[in-house]
Symmetry: C2
Subunit: 152 residues, 2 copies
């Protein structure tokens, strides 16, 4: 979105912040995507493995909420990880609507090597900010994200 729009000052500020938000997200995502491609992983697949590593077994439902992806998409992402034997699926016996997703031994070893390789890719994008600035930015983004996630 160009800066040529002539609206009120607050409109201009908001639109400018929007552009910067999208560009930053796109650029960081592109970097992470490239780094993950070496391991034949998409960001969503990485997100699933990482969540399982740090949070333990989860339902597909929980994974979908965590990654902000549709249930249909989670089905596919988990399918692909299952084919590579990085995770297992098991239908819950207590409530048969749920499916437990768990890391296999292989999957755990795999994500334990990939994760530390991705961390510096992310941190490097942030080194331009001081600790204080980084925390401020995170807090601002949290508020914006929460607002945007709200109704309408």
């Amino acid at each position: 979105m160009g800066t040529k729009h002539t609206g009120s000052a607050s409109e201009v500020r908001a639109l400018d912040a929007y552009i910067k938000l999208m560009r930053a997200a796109d650029s960081v995502t592109a970097r992470v995507t490239r780094a993950l491609a070496k391991h034949d992983l998409t960001i969503s697949q990485f997100g699933v493995l990482e969540a399982l590593l740090h949070l333990g077994e989860l339902h597909q439902n929980e994974l979908g909420q965590k990654l902000l992806k549709s249930s249909g998409n989670i089905t596919l992402v988990v399918d692909n990880l299952e084919k590579r034997k990085l995770i297992t699926r098991e239908r819950s016996s207590e409530d048969r609507r749920f499916v437990w997703v768990r890391l296999t031994k292989t999957g755990e070893a795999f994500i334990k090597t990939v994760f530390p390789e991705i961390v510096p890719v992310i941190t490097d994008s942030m080194v331009v900010l001081s600790p204080f600035e980084l925390e401020k930015m995170a807090e601002y983004l949290r508020q914006v994200g929460q607002r945007a996630a709200g109704p309408a």
Copy 2:
């Protein structure tokens, strides 16, 4: 990415900011996507029309750089807008590698009604921040985006 990762303080800060960045971008994008769907527009299509409205005629190349999309994708996006007669294509006579993309009368009228409808969708996501905070966030995001867009 969960908060369970135990790394250095600066790693934790950077990863947390990364999560917040992605969530905010996803949430705002989802809102804008829904608003544009009413007009059968994708975000990329809207981006092209908006750029043409505020910057005038552009080459596909310039559009690709502006929207951070691949040249192949721009071809498709412009194709679809051309089919709806919202833009025209014309190969440059000075340098025949370039293709000029311009708004048609219809396209200009169209984006002039859609744009003011999208602005409040964006600004509403930002109202939780003061003008000062919004400008700070934009500046931080600009720096992060520029860093991430850089080499490797």
